[in-house]
Each structure stands twice: as structure tokens, then as C-alpha cells.
Assembly symmetry: C2
């Protein structure tokens, strides 16, 4: 899952990718925009969104679902865990392996006080993988 059509490495694209790679804490699209603007003042927010999406589809970055409204982006490709602070919303990486009694180690490793975890897989369901190209609305 990391190729599509070829893609040019434009100035905007490179700047966005570089900014994201050097960012320490999973910036939102707007945060990436603000930072890239220091290099390319006339860049458009729409360009940032479009490229974050394209880079994600090409498997060059990851888009994270935030419990709050906005998405966050991550230049780290390997699967890893995240801790999101329920107060300020910041998202940090956590480097621990499985779960079970992981909450304990997560607490130790990150200093966060954990109240719960959320593990979700992404994939294609049988309904969509099989026959029809479009997923059933609410088939059961």
C-alpha cells in the first residue's frame, strides 16, 4: 500500500514533507501550514491539505484520526502507539510493544496518566473486498 501514480517532488511538497519530518509532535494541517509559510510565504492552506493527502496516499506519511475535530500528521511510517492528552490534545509517540498490562508500562514510559486505550485496525471488509465495488450502507 505505498504506490499510486508517479508524483513530482515539487518545492511545496518537499517543504511540507521536511517540515513534518522535523516536527516532534504530530502537527495539524494548519500547524504544518504555519511552519511551511516561513519558507514559502505564498503557499496556500489548500495546497498543504492536498499534499498531506497525496503524501498519505503514497504511503510517505500517515494521517492520524484525532478524537477532537482535526487530523494530525505523522512522518513515522512504522506502526507505533500514540498517547493523546485529553486536556491539551497533544499526541506523543509511545515505544512499547503489546498491550495486556501495557497500560502500566505506557504510564511509566510516557509519564502520562492513562485512562484507556483505543486499538483500531484499518482494512477492507468482506463486503467491500468481494463482489460490489461500493460498500453496503448498513448491511448486516
Amino acid at each position: 500500500m505505498s504506490n499510486y501514480e508517479p508524483l513530482q517532488m515539487t518545492r511545496s511538497r518537499r517543504a511540507i514533507l521536511r517540515e513534518l519530518s522535523s516536527a516532534e509532535h504530530h502537527p495539524t494541517a494548519d500547524e504544518v501550514y504555519q511552519r511551511v509559510r516561513r519558507t514559502i510565504p505564498r503557499i496556500s492552506l489548500a495546497t498543504v491539505y492536498r499534499n498531506l493527502d497525496i503524501l498519505t496516499r503514497h504511503g510517505m506519511i500517515r494521517t492520524l484520526a484525532d478524537a477532537d475535530g482535526q487530523r494530525r500528521y505523522d512522518a513515522t511510517l512504522e506502526d507505533h502507539c500514540h498517547v493523546r492528552c485529553e486536556v491539551c490534545g497533544r499526541v506523543d509517540d509511545v515505544h512499547v510493544v503489546p498491550l495486556e498490562a501495557v497500560e502500566r508500562s505506557i504510564t511509566d514510559a510516557s509519564g502520562y496518566s492513562i485512562s484507556g486505550y483505543s486499538l483500531s485496525f484499518a482494512g477492507v471488509c468482506p463486503r467491500c473486498a468481494g463482489g460490489g465495488r461500493r460498500g453496503a450502507e448498513d448491511a448486516s
Copy 2:
């Protein structure tokens, strides 16, 4: 993390909770709205949103972050895994324990074709747990 101020069990609130408990696949706010309308035709979508939020803050239901725009709600309180179809967006529960080589079992148990997982914990970071009541914007 499951109490706040007291809360009345109004007709709307009860209907929303009941509808969510009997729903099989993590409905969106609008889906809950559509279903509750069959019982309370004049209920407002804002009321549904407000109550889903209140019930979540009271630990009576869970709010799920969807990679797509909209949130989904879950009446199952215990931590468990979810599989989201990248095509139709539906979210199913998965009953397996840890991860490691879990992708395999997830695939078998759900029939989904898994392309990756996302495990994130929720909690309060040291910065927010300690001193200030407000989380630092971007302190590092």
C-alpha cells in the same frame, strides 16, 4: 473517570442511550438522530449531539474517532478493538486480545483484509496533570 455533576434521565437521553445500545455497528450522530426520531419525531439533532457528549463525559458511552470526518458512538464500555473498512467506513468490534501477530487473527476473526493497525491511548500528560490547569500549547 465516570462522574460529573448529577444528570437527569430525560426521555431524549434515555431514547438515545437505548438506541445506541441496541445498534449493532457504531452509529454516527446523524444515524442515532434518524433512529431516535422514530420515537421522538420532534427531537433536535443538536440535542442528540449534546447528549452523546454528555453521556460520554459521564462514562456511559464511548465516542470513537473516525479517520473520516465523522465521529461514531459505542455503548460498549470495556476497552476493545475496532476494524474500520477503508472503503465503506463501517466500524466493527473485534474480540481478540493483544497484537504482535494479531493482524493474522484479526483477519481470520473478522474476514477483513488488514493493512495496518492503530493503537492509541488516552490520558493526561505530565504537563497537564502537574501545575497548570491548562495544557501548554506546544511546550517541548
